[in-house]
Amino acid sequence: MKKDLTRRRFLKTAGGAAGATMLASIGAPAVLRAQSDVIKIGHLAPRTGFLGPIGDYAVLGVTLGMEEVNAGGGILGRKVELIAEDSVNPATASAKAERLVERDKVNLLLGEISSASGLAIAQVANRTRMLFMQTGCNSDELRGKACNRFMFHIEATNTMYVKTVGRALLRQGMVTGKRWMALTADYAFGHDLLRVAQRFMGEHGGVFIGNEMVPTDVTEFSPYVLKVRQARPDLIVINLAGNQNPSFMKQYSEFNLPFPLAGGGYDTVMAWGAGRDSFAGIWPIVWYHTLDTPSSRAFTAAFIRRFGKPPENQAVGDYLGVKVLAQAMTELKSTDPLKLVEYLEKGAKFNVLKTREGYFRAWDHQMLFEMYTLTPKPKEKMADKWDMAEVSPPVPAPNEDLEVIAPTRQENPCTFA
């Protein structure tokens, strides 16, 4: 028995098993229905991997949006159906997007969180002339060099995030003349965010002392914490994504170092994952569940009733995606993708659960809206375990144009071919 299992055989069979897993991830298809009297939404989001927890909320948000639309009679008298798929990685996302368009004959593509996968889906959308409303990808590149006429962005772009948190940092005197170092997730989103952060800090007199690239599968951050300790910066800029944020925050708080944190990419589910004890720093956000506008309160209450827990910012993106498209299709009396594109480009206004309405910019399809900054809330003031953050007043201020935090034409080289 022992002689039969040589090392060679062991490595061969283990290697085969690993290969099979990779194929298996292109997994089982979702439900398929062949009626044409329904409106089908093809939803893609990462449900596994380091963005998985955010993907979960995306699906909850789109589900609630779909149910509300159907409860109100559907779109143009037709019921809305959801085909939700796990996008896993860019290659799988591309394959599934194709399948949703060609085989399942969806009316639109919605969702995605990873900027790399978003890029892949956008190419499919452009080729098949299918509308893709992306709700979670932050990279400037998607609205910039890689923009295309069939992709719209409900999620804020890295420049908007950095300008929002940057204003707060400037007010606190944390930028001009300060030595700052970055920890960056080593993929499209991280690189993009680092570029935008460097641009902002450079424009305002910050002193860049170094960056550490962190592979996306790292879970042990203590080496990086020790590097931070070695560098002794005035500010640490966090460009990490997904699971990495709470892991880093927890391990950073273990060492109890005095250097302040700030970041350009944030999801509330990650702060909840880190726990109030470890949550630190100042972060930009598109929405928070304690926002006090009537529509926001109504959405939060409906979400809690439906799912038993409060929503977080990603859920809002996918929820709004459905509602915005429902409103657009109803007003246009059509589901034709090109007509929808023209309609949205005209600057139609939508309720985005804030004090001001949001609208899409015609030249890069980025939706403009208010944003906020978050800081940890003192424990005594927490109403419950989810209430971890103090939310700032809206940015830009009521008397400022929403364009103030958005990328300028100079910063954003988008042209629709």
């Binding site: 060679r8 927890p53 962190v214 790292v218 300790r229 927890k250 004890d277």
Partner: protein
């Protein structure tokens, strides 16, 4: 080059290596004695972490620290008696398939029960704080974990080298047929070794839970590292696995200081180098066909 920081990185690397060691030891023992490659080993590490979360909520971390590895070990015993022992004399592919399937089932069960979001477990308050010696700073919890892990490894060594039970285990590794001929039943020994090995993985899960966050995919992450340790150390050798883990730890600590982007890759590069120079691993049994 500032020595304090190099030292901190190396100690940190060793700490990580000791976790790998806890998981790799169990993996190596189960393979040496039973011939089974346990691809579900990482899943038990994850189960240990999740048990810790739940037991801490109910009865505090101290209870969880003791109860969780024991529960995982008992689970390991159950798995061995119900399933693994059917594969000892069978084609190795079967045990690979079974343990692979088991690992996926466990991961999805964890996801179903606890959700995909990472769960927080705070470091127990009596273990917070940092040790300061001049410029050297290191958290107490990590030092504590290092101590516990080293003790566990030492206890395993003692068990294997100095007790009659260990003698039977070593005889079973060397020549199982002879052991049976002599009249010593290997079945209970196999069960005990499986339980112990899986319990060690569970212990690693308990120790790491407050640090790296508990999520369903944590098992597969550590399994890859554990396999690399076993392959470098050589199949069938206790000290080989220990030395391999130490080498990986020191290498990682040094690489992360000079070239951080290469830190994850360092252990694979090490594995390639070791296999090229010495295909059986540091201290594995000689395999004639490869050398």
């Amino acid at each position: 080059m500032e020595w304090i920081f190099v030292l901190e990185q190396v100690i940190n690397g060793l700490l990580l290596a000791v976790y790998y060691l806890l998981v790799a030891l169990g993996l190596s023992l189960i393979f040496s004695l039973g011939g089974i490659v346990n691809l579900a080993h990482g899943a038990f590490y994850a189960i240990g972490a999740y048990f810790t979360v739940e037991i801490t909520r109910a009865a505090g971390f101290a209870t969880a620290f003791v109860a969780s590895p024991v529960l995982v070990a008992l689970l390991g015993v159950a798995i061995e008696r119900l399933f693994l022992r059917r594969f000892y004399q069978a084609d190795p592919t079967l045990s690979l398939l079974f343990t692979f399937g088991l690992s996926m089932i466990v991961e999805q069960c964890l996801r179903i029960i606890w959700g995909a979001s990472p769960i927080t477990l705070a470091i127990p308050s009596f273990l917070r704080g940092q040790l300061f010696i001049g410029d050297f700073i290191y958290p107490y919890y990590r030092l504590g974990m290092l101590g516990v892990a080293v003790t566990a490894v030492a206890a395993t060594w003692y068990l294997l080298e100095r007790t009659w039970f260990g003698k039977i285990v070593r005889a079973g590794v060397a020549d199982p047929d002879m052991v049976r001929v002599v009249g010593i039943p290997l079945a209970p020994v196999l069960t005990a070794v499986s339980g112990m090995g899986i319990g060690l993985a569970g212990l690693a899960g308990v120790l790491l839970a407050p640090i790296s966050g508990v999520h369903p995919a944590m098992g597969s992450e550590i399994l890859t590292a554990a396999f690399v340790v076993v392959v470098i150390g050589g199949l069938g050798s206790f000290w080989g696995v220990v030395w391999a883990a130490l080498m990986i730890g020191v290498a990682r600590g040094l690489v992360v200081y000079f070239m951080p982007a290469a830190s994850e890759a360092s252990m694979y590069v090490l594995m390639v180098l070791v296999l090229l120079i010495r295909p059986r691993g540091l201290m594995g049994e000689r395999v004639e066909r490869l050398e």
